[in-house]
Symmetry: C2
Subunit: 334 residues, 2 copies
């Protein structure tokens, strides 16, 4: 049913090895017309490479295994996969994503992926955080994406949160803002690092770090129904007080959306009265707001591409954590 090299060889009147060489061998010595004849025959017969058979010979399948921790449903985390896939397919490699779930913990998921003998395995998380993999599983993983080990010893690709915060704050300051506020994402690694970058930029510009202008936008780590009212209360207090901020850097686009709503309700104009900037460049939000939001785009696609290059040996494996820069997307909110 399924056509094999042998079928083609019989049809062409040559040996199996010749067919193999004609179809897959790079530029091994072979008469050009023989090669063409065989290729035509293969197409005609509908030959499809049997990768498992090749895999048993080579010891691996042309796959990059990705163990996804937290469902890869997050609108931007899928960019990691797309970046990986785009790069990998240039090398005839496929990406095999398996997600960790309640029924299958990290170690089990890694083992499941290993069974297929991928060329390399990466461990990717939905948002930037620390991970601790069990010893055995850890050995199988070649690269962490969007997460890092606590000891920072493992090769990892993460967004350069701190640099991004520095950059965007610097950008606000260079645009004449003098009293920027920061509406943070408490309890998240990204939030902490972004806040550090914010503070660092203020210091670099010899501006005072006013603690009252640094606040939490949500109560837990994620959005609750209270997020909206919290943001509103916080911004209300800021605008009512003396020394009201002339710019608000939001922990992410989602918070920026709430900030837009709050400011509109309070009658403040963006960017005239208050400039808004943010992080993530979440497609549903950032470009749709009015005015469109200036934001630091998470380098998910770039991390995916880089990861593919590293795992396929095209780029050297980083020692420890490699921070991948965000991209500044200038729109009209500043």
């Amino acid at each position: 049913m399924r056509v094999s090299l042998e079928d083609i060889a019989r049809a062409a009147g040559v040996s199996v090895k010749t067919v193999s060489g004609a179809l897959h061998g790079g530029s091994a010595r072979m008469a050009a017309d023989t090669r063409e004849r065989i290729q035509a025959l293969a197409t005609e017969l509908g030959y499809v490479t049997n990768l498992p058979a090749r895999g048993i010979r080579q010891g691996w399948l042309p796959l990059i295994g990705v163990v996804a921790d937290g469902v890869i449903t997050s609108p931007f985390a899928t960019h990691i996969i797309r970046g990986l896939d785009g790069e990998a397919s240039k090398q005839q490699m496929s990406v095999f994503v398996t997600t960790v779930s309640a029924a299958r913990d990290a170690a089990a998921t890694i083992a499941e992926v290993e069974r297929f003998r991928p060329r390399a395995i990466a461990y990717a998380t939905m948002y930037h955080k620390f991970v601790d993999l069990p010893e055995a599983a850890d050995r199988a993983v070649g690269l962490l994406i969007n997460c890092r080990s606590r000891d920072a010893a493992r090769a990892a690709l993460v967004p350069a949160e701190r640099d991004a915060a520095f950059t965007i704050t610097d950008y606000l300051l260079r645009h004449g803002r003098r009293r920027p506020a920061f509406l943070n994402l408490p309890g998240l690694l990204a939030g902490e690092l972004r806040e550090a970058g914010f503070r660092q930029a203020l210091r670099a510009h010899d501006l005072p770090v006013v603690e009252e202008r640094i606040g939490a936008a949500v109560s837990g780590g994620f959005y609750s129904d209270k997020a909206e009212s919290l943001v509103q209360a916080r911004i209300g207090a800021w605008l009512a007080g003396a020394d009201a901020p002339d710019a608000i850097l939001c922990g992410n686009d989602r918070i920026a959306l709430e900030a837009y709503n709050a400011l509109r309700r309070l009658g403040a104009r963006i960017p005239d009265d208050v400039a808004i900037a943010s992080f993530d460049n979440q497609v549903d939000i950032a470009s749709r707001l009015d005015p469109p939001l200036t934001t630091m785009a998470l380098p998910h696609r770039e991390m995916g591409q880089l990861a593919a290059d590293i795992l396929l040996g095209l780029t050297e494996t980083p020692e420890g954590v490699l921070e991948v820069p965000f991209r500044l997307v200038e729109r009209r909110s500043v």
Copy 2:
């Protein structure tokens, strides 16, 4: 480096076949203690099944190949994959998703997946639509998910749009609403079918189908920046006219969100003045609105589960298009 059955056999002092039988053979005749001893040894040595090797023997790898048309980034389409994965993993099967992209058309993507010799291949789309696969590719695909062939001859799983619309409209009518309006998704298959179900339910209740109360919420098939103002204009006109609707069935949750905004601006209360119901149960929206939205949940997970059962031969392959029912999620907007 990698430990094989032979390594275990040597360590245990038995033959390779005995090890194979002990680890994978169901209940083949074998002394229980031998089996246990071998299993313990395998764990100790860190044996991981070499699936490509088994695959070459069996002719297939324990994979369900999924060709995803349109990036599987849509917040609900991922449920298809999760449903598939959950079911498949019960049978020790993995799901291998490859997305069609600009660089790789449907036929090429299917061929790429075929190389791995999956047990079966499904073709899934991001939203409900018609697809026409090229002949060769078509033969490799065992099931369409969320899409259908024009001639309806191919086995396909799609959401029961029309039934769902009938059900939710019936639900509105049973809750005393008499003048329901429909804010449609023009140009989309789902929209057409939902509208048909809406009309059908009105007729079933002997109510007139008022064409003025059936309108498009967006200009093209998808959301543009104008969606918001279009919905607002439409609802404004409805409420201003005589015979204003006492319920609005929205083409999807996204439209419902716009409707909420429009109604709030116009001072209409939900559900007291106007009931709202919708389709999709999009997690970011439906449960977060105030009041939470009553909506027909797309059966994506169910389609995934069913697809796995069909592709693995646990359930009979449907002849033609099988419509999978939505689930009514009652919240407080009616």
